[in-house]
Point group: C2
Chain length 310, copies 2
Amino acid sequence: MAATALIGIDWGTTSARAYRIAADGGVVDSRAAPLGIQRLGGLSFPEAFAQLLGDWRDVSAPRLACGMVGSRQGWVEAAYVACPAALPALAAALVRTGGDEMAIVPGVTTRDAAGVPDVMRGEETQIIGAVAPDADRVLTVLPGTHSKWTRVEHGRIVDFATFMTGEVYAVLIEHSILGRLAQAPAGTGKSKDGGTGAAFRRGAERGLASGGLTHDIFGARTLALMGELAPDEVADWLSGLLIGREIRTARSWAFRAGYDASRVCVIGADALADRYIAALGFAEVTAERGPQQAAALGLWRIAQAAGLLR
Amino acid sequence: MAATALIGIDWGTTSARAYRIAADGGVVDSRAAPLGIQRLGGLSFPEAFAQLLGDWRDVSAPRLACGMVGSRQGWVEAAYVACPAALPALAAALVRTGGDEMAIVPGVTTRDAAGVPDVMRGEETQIIGAVAPDADRVLTVLPGTHSKWTRVEHGRIVDFATFMTGEVYAVLIEHSILGRLAQAPAGTGKSKDGGTGAAFRRGAERGLASGGLTHDIFGARTLALMGELAPDEVADWLSGLLIGREIRTARSWAFRAGYDASRVCVIGADALADRYIAALGFAEVTAERGPQQAAALGLWRIAQAAGLLR
């Protein structure tokens, strides 16, 4: 097994994952625990960290974490770095825990055209890992409960925008009248055709067109009422609509900043990422899948920039 | 007391209201019961109707109902009439209950530019009641869980669009991360300044501008996180944003149909209608309040057109 140059930790709200990373940035081994910062179950942060590491406690290597562990509710708060946020600025803003157990990567903040703030914490590290440091003008999306679209230039996070698409989908399916007409796939993440079939496409095409979202989503009810959408298609249609509209909005946001937005790097490897890739295809946008282990690679790049690696 | 020319019934999902209506369309008396079609508690429709009427059972007058009582889950289904739906067409499509207890007004359906259906049931009667039969090009809004914007010309419902604004607000406040930062007024309908103060205005102005809705709503979290929105302002800000965006979308829908949309008839008299009137004011649109008892007046006009009145 290659020597461990860095122990990287991706520590979020619901779970934590640790990586042994070699001197070339490759992941040697990883382990996960359901010890997210809101799931500590009475453990202190040092105790939870010791439990996550297990026998890696004795590995002699620097430790760097990203994610909600650096939020106000985390172990130590690592204040947000403002956009444009370059790799050296992130590296310079690391914060160390009280017992010097680890360093923590800060989150990133920006303001949109109307001056309303936006925040990310954890995603900045995945983006730094996913995008080659010398690449010019890369548009990335991290699908998720709150998906993040980011403009990256030469390793700098220039600007980003959050979309609550995943959470809006979930509350509509679970708690609104739209979910009452939806069968089976609703909320389970399981769909016919992996969720990217005909109903998803019909929804996505509606989403990719202009429209008012609170009007357009009502179609999930009326199409079902009129027999033009089967009960087991409602959830996929709605998912397509919401993702399509997000893509439309995010592309025009990127266009306004001078990006051609005909190519997007999708960071993620789950069924949701597959849906984004399918919907980007309907919009004739080339989707490139980001690397596996983007978080580990990002932690390694930030550790390197911070001079943590020997 | 004036003689009763018609007993009108507005019978919805959660409650029912009956009106004694005079020969000139004026409401002589009204009574309500929590006997909505999903709240019958084991009563049959004829039994619930008898309970609602009480001692009005012996009043010798025709009876006409509107609302969900005519839906597939109601007493008798009164099939939707397609737009443009003129008063005579609605009157010609009345359906009678099996025991001839009453006639029921049909709902109305349309399709938007993309061919997706839309429906209303009950609102058509309020609109017929609220808009003078000889008025040309009136744009109306009925605020509610699912608000309806309607274009009315000479007593014809030419077209309409539903917005799930009220329901989206409720599920976001009750079930999403946005509600977790909101204090007190959330979900109670109670707000400082009657819900139309500074925070509502800030939200509405964001809503009236262009943007992606699932991005814009995230501002309720980030503004609170950054201390730029107080916990007791979050709900009003979000309400303003959603209503403002609805107004923006509905106005451009009306513009495309040749309406100048500088004047809107708001049908409703509750706190939600006040919010719409305030937000229309921010957009420099003249809001006119529709008449009280629009449903009763609509039932009377439809009954008259159907030849039910003696």
